[in-house]
Structure formats: structure tokens, C-alpha cells
């Protein structure tokens, strides 16, 4: 595994937890985003994820660096799966360790918020009667969204 990676196979959470654990870590937080059957009353059959892989991995690494700067002592691993995902499959995993728990929670939540803002990954929802690429509709920013 890589510390920040796009994968095409099922995500094994334990690998990422093991990666961030070390003797000074008193807390580990893990977030997984899973495929949900119902969204806004519409039943999802499955999802299809696509990524601009090299840029996505680079952006995830940048998010990790931001986290280490904001919460010194955290250790981070992030993976996002692409391809067809079924209900309950894990799309994204974020593992964070920290000496103390507060930073582990805060940094983890920061990571998923940033992933949803800047990492070039796209989700298509496939329903019984149609499909759609999902994405927050935004106008072109004055500054690129990755330039913070």
C-alpha cells in the first residue's frame, strides 16, 4: 500500500490503521465513506467512481501535509477506491493517529471535507431508471480551489 492511494479493489481498513499506529499514538480515528442504498428518497443500485489518478494521489498527499501542519504529531493514511461499488462498499478510508484524541477527530473530519473539495474524483449514481454524475455545482473560482 501507499500512504495516499487510489485503488481499484476492496479497501481493507486494517491496513491503514496499522500504517498510522506507532508507540506515541494514543488515539486512532478511522472514517469510511460507504455506498448508501437511499439518497434523498432515491434508491441507488450501485456507484461508479472515476479519478484523475496521479493528481488525486497528489492532492490527497497535500491534504495530509496540511493536517500535519495544523495538528502536529498526527500520522495519516488515505485511500479512495474507483470503479463500480456496491451498497455498503467502502469508497474512502481515512486513518489518523495522534498522541491525543481531540486532534485525531478534528484532523480526520478536516480530511474528508477537503477531499470533497479538491480531490479530482467523481461519483456517478446509477438508479433503476437512470444515472447521473454527482458534483457540487460551482462557478470557476477566483483562485483555484486547490490553492489555499
Amino acid at each position: 500500500m501507499k500512504q495516499y492511494e487510489i485503488v481499484e479493489t476492496p479497501i481493507e481498513v486494517q491496513k491503514y490503521m496499522d500504517y498510522v499506529l506507532h508507540p506515541s499514538a494514543g488515539a486512532v480515528t478511522v472514517f469510511t465513506g460507504n455506498v448508501r442504498e437511499w439518497t434523498h428518497g432515491v434508491k441507488t443500485l450501485y456507484l461508479s467512481y472515476e479519478a484523475y489518478v496521479p493528481m488525486a494521489e497528489k492532492k490527497m498527499a497535500e491534504i495530509g501535509a496540511e493536517m500535519e501542519a495544523k495538528w502536529p504529531g498526527v500520522r495519516v493514511a488515505i485511500a479512495h477506491r474507483i470503479g463500480e461499488l456496491q451498497i455498503s462498499d467502502i469508497a474512502v478510508v481515512i486513518a489518523v493517529s495522534s498522541p491525543h484524541r481531540k486532534a485525531a477527530y478534528e484532523a480526520n473530519e478536516y480530511a474528508i471535507d477537503r477531499i470533497k473539495e479538491v480531490v479530482p474524483i467523481w461519483k456517478k449514481e446509477i438508479w433503476e431508471d437512470g444515472e447521473e454524475w454527482i458534483g457540487a455545482q460551482k462557478k470557476y473560482p477566483e483562485k483555484g480551489v486547490g490553492l489555499t
Partner: protein
């Protein structure tokens, strides 16, 4: 030659994943206009451009050899 990549909705709109444009230099704004004119329904208002895997501003200049990507609104996670 400028290489461009298409993803997600834009890959479907253009019917291709990548192509090369025979230009030596253009701004990001010019690239977006070019795409808008080349592909009906491209919808460049919502599209960002990455140059060499980094988000670029509209005034940034793209040179021959650069690798660009059109980035529709992301929806990972």
C-alpha cells in the same frame, strides 16, 4: 502540442478520455473557450482546469508539452 484529459461527465460529452491540441501556447480561459466551442454542452462555467496536475487560474498560460485536465465539480468521498 497540449495534451488534455476529460473525466466523468466531460468524458461522456466529448466521447473521449484525452486528446492533443496543436497549439504552442494558450491561456486557461482560451482552453475553456476552445472546449466550449468544440463540444456542445461542455458547460465550461462549472469546469476547472488543471495544468500538470495543479489547479490553474484563468489567466495562467499553458505551454506546449503541458498536460491539462478539465475538472468538473468533484464528488469523491
Amino acid at each position: 502540442m497540449i495534451k488534455v484529459n476529460y473525466f466523468a461527465r466531460l468524458r461522456e460529452v466529448t466521447g473521449k478520455g484525452e486528446e492533443t491540441i496543436d497549439r504552442d501556447s494558450m491561456t486557461v480561459a482560451e482552453l475553456l473557450n476552445w472546449a466550449e466551442e468544440s463540444y456542445p454542452g461542455f458547460g465550461s462555467d462549472n469546469v476547472q482546469v488543471a495544468v500538470n496536475e495543479e489547479y490553474a487560474l484563468k489567466d495562467d498560460v499553458i505551454e506546449s508539452g503541458d498536460v491539462c485536465a478539465f475538472i468538473p465539480p468533484v464528488s469523491g468521498g
